[in-house]
Amino acid sequence: MSDTLVEQAAPAARSAAAPFVACVLAWLFPGLGHVYLGKKVRAAVFFAVVLIMFTLGVASDGAASLIEERQPLTVLATFDNVATGPIDLASRYLTYGRIVYVLPGEEGDPRRTELMEKLRTRVRSVTYEYGSTFLLTAGLMNILLILDAFDIATGRKD
């Protein structure tokens, strides 16, 4: 009797933790949440699509967004970039030469001037708009993958 209860309890304990683990893995690397849930073909396609999108974004001189107090929409754009997972660190480093998320508010701040100059270098590139769109889309895709992994883990979707 007690053995049966233990057998029944084990999958329940796993399934309780599964959505959280799947979501974290999905954020850590595109498709990893689906690998964890046994959806390997989908995972491979998602991994390839998001990574190609991200790579095209970086290669096309796209810039990771920075939060600027006077422009509230930059919070959403930065959140979207961060949703791509740790690979977002690469685009930030390539854009600004270091990992930075917030643009200092004061006009005379040398850190702001330095970041703005690096951003202007990107903006001057002909492919900047394409690149930034690719980067933002990669982030949006990964948000959908996180939600999809959650739905699969909770049994709402196959």
Partner: protein, 59 residues
């Protein structure tokens, strides 16, 4: 990198279409149908919008 606006449109549409095909469908044929409809719609609608916008000045 890719400088052609049209080539960027094709690549972007293809990637988005494949992504949503695998996100929303489980069957191979259904996925192909979504890729063709969604990818094709994105390209054709973009060209129509571009054509409609063409007479308007940039500034």
């Amino acid at each position: 990198m890719i400088r052609s606006h049209f080539l960027n449109l094709l690549v972007f549409s293809a990637l988005v279409a494949v992504f949503f095909a695998f996100l929303t469908q489980n069957d191979g044929k259904d996925r192909l149908r979504v890729v063709l409809i969604l990818g094709g719609s994105m390209v054709v609608l973009s060209l129509i919008i571009a054509y409609v916008m063409y007479p308007f000045p940039l500034r």
